[in-house]
Symmetry: C2
Subunit: 372 residues, 2 copies
């Protein structure tokens, strides 16, 4: 299959696209949100529940799985899908993000990376090709190249170096035959529009099946991020799917969709759940708040998730305060379903050429906080 | 309904009985195991899953719910069943056990008990009648009287005092009209067979709908417990259901069934799950053990629980080591289903007059540990 056959665009609304990504394990309707299953489990949820939230593709972390339980073990047990009981598509990230988030546990050279395990201090050396081959061993449907993001505020010369290395590695990753698995390049370039644009051109030239916008959501102001997104989109082929890594709030997602992004992932829905926070169409609510003590209504009136179908805000608040695991699970399922419904609504709005109106109405709802 | 109409015995095998307990929320087939939902949630499980494990009745703790979120709040929200989304029967315990387990947080007088909240130090004063009325407010289907157990090794004169107080309170509890809710008395008497027998007679004389064997599983040797169980059974009316509080290992359950006990509860299945331990027909296995690292088989070959239907031992071990909540939930569901299947097998064995053979074969399986 050529890259063109792996992503169809069926409707447009401004820069926004309504697409279908074809993977070896089925289609993914875009724009799409990918729940994160760092250790081969979306926190507190089972695979069936994750699918019911509307997710067609999950993100798992090559780096974390390489450390624990190990790539070879998962391969021996039939690959990641079988290991974790998920029959939909899986995108695996490369560990590039960990080059930033793990700091001292990383040694970087042009030839590759040495990760040090935070569990036992063991060192794992990886080359760019090795990272792609490892994801292939897992049976990943969408493989990410190894890249080097930089935090917001990195001096230009260091951002330039990291971007140059990202391009070097991308070229090496591109040499690997990934068969039925899609291979995505990653644009870096820090927060300088010129460097971003050149990075997008360089990655586009390598002929990947899709392209990620990496190194964003790194503490930068929204306008800075938006300019970087636009610089990428302008310099990427229209026919490729675009994936903005690590973005997860409703309005940021809608804004990025309007700029031409198709795929997203974020730990936010499950991480917020752990703190007792639910996403609603009118903004976030924290169940710690005593005003929910007596509330017999569900988290959201028209939501079809298991939490809203079965339980009151008062009960979920009680569970959360009592430290019951069911609270974490129910809030996770609600938050995932919230984003699943948001994506479905965005797809429909694009088909009906009313994404801007939909976004504005959602922005007003959140500003007013009605129903929270 | 008279007590006789609330419990049918359809088959016998030695002292063991195959019965049906009729509650306002449906029938409970006995012998039965009750999962424990201390804070109105069976830890890590949702109500539908608990029902699918074979449980027809849950235990919830009046004491814990009184402290958090409060009995009135639950009543205001439609009662405990609606609050927690469980449509089967609920048995509530009275807080008697906490008189032992909480030690310094308790003040005891003949007129009642002062519990001190471990959360905020607030004091809650309860009378025996108040405890029954509180359980009625929750909408409990099976209400337990307030009692005073004593730990193993308590001097005889103190055991005698606690037993006398238990009888005094039982008489006061019996005065409350519990309508459609069943009211169970509790036998105490420490570990002296004579005092146990007199306590059983005293409780039997009060005309409850069922009787619990309280103050056992308190650190005593099995033989001491078995003698106490026999002393209770000999002195209780045959037509009443008998409930041994707090017992949960396979062989202990089967032994107690053979002595004439019908109902059980224990936190063991969910507590063991938290430590990575699974119950199997061949005994317990701990997923921490490295020998499960590569095992593609489920926890138990012929088990129909969600863990065994979907996941390998290797994956569950990985989840447990990674601290993933899904491990806790899956092990809990497996352990609950294990006990659900054990009870179903025991019921069938009684119907077919082969409980002793079934128990012996299970004892051999565990001794051999085949398949662990």
């Amino acid at each position: 299959m050529s890259a063109a056959e792996r992503f169809d665009i069926s409707a447009r609304d401004g820069n926004a696209r309504r697409g279908t990504l074809h993977t070896a394990r089925g289609e993914v309707q875009t724009p799409a949100f990918m729940p994160v299953g760092t250790h081969a489990s979306v926190k507190a949820c089972d695979p069936k529940e994750v699918a019911e939230s509307g997710a067609e593709v999950l993100l798992c972390n090559f780096y974390h799985l390489a450390l624990r339980p190990g790539i070879d073990l998962i391969a021996e047990l039939g690959g990641l899908h079988r290991f974790m009981g998920w029959s939909g598509a899986i995108l695996t990230d490369s560990g590039g993000y960990q080059l930033v988030s793990l700091g001292e546990l990383i040694e970087l050279e042009d030839s590759g990376v040495t990760f040090r395990s935070p569990y036992d201090g063991d060192a794992i050396q990886v080359t760019p090709q090795g990272v792609v081959e490892g994801q292939l061993k897992l049976g990943s449907d969408v493989i990410m190249v190894l890249d080097q993001p930089v935090p917001f505020g990195t001096p230009p010369e260091l951002a330039e170096l990291a971007t140059r290395r990202t391009h070097l590695w991308a070229g090496q990753c591109r040499q690997v035959d990934t068969g039925d698995s899609l291979l995505f390049g990653i644009v870096q370039g820090g927060f300088d529009v010129g460097l971003r644009s050149r990075s997008a051109e360089a990655i586009a030239a390598l002929g990947f099946d899709g392209v990620a916008l990496g190194g964003l959501v790194m503490g930068e102001p929204p306008q800075v991020r938006q300019r970087a997104v636009d610089a990428c989109v302008r310099n990427l082929p229209d026919r490729l799917p675009r994936y903005l890594m690590g973005l997860g709030t409703d309005l940021d997602l809608l804004d990025s969709i309007s700029r031409g992004v198709d795929l997203f992932d974020c730990v936010l829905p499950t991480r917020l759940a752990r703190t007792g926070t639910a996403l609603t169409e009118c903004g976030r609510i924290s169940l710690r708040h005593s005003r929910f003590r007596h509330v017999p209504q569900p988290l959201e009136a028209d939501c079809d998730c298991p939490a809203c179908a079965n339980f009151s805000r008062a009960y979920l608040r009680h569970l959360y305060l009592a430290g019951e695991i069911l609270a974490h699970r129910m809030l996770s399922l609600h938050n995932l379903r919230h984003l699943g419904r948001l994506m479905a609504a965005a797809r429909q709005a694009i088909e009906e050429s009313r994404l801007q109106g939909f976004t504005e109405s959602r922005r007003r709802q959140i500003a007013q906080g009605v129903g929270r």
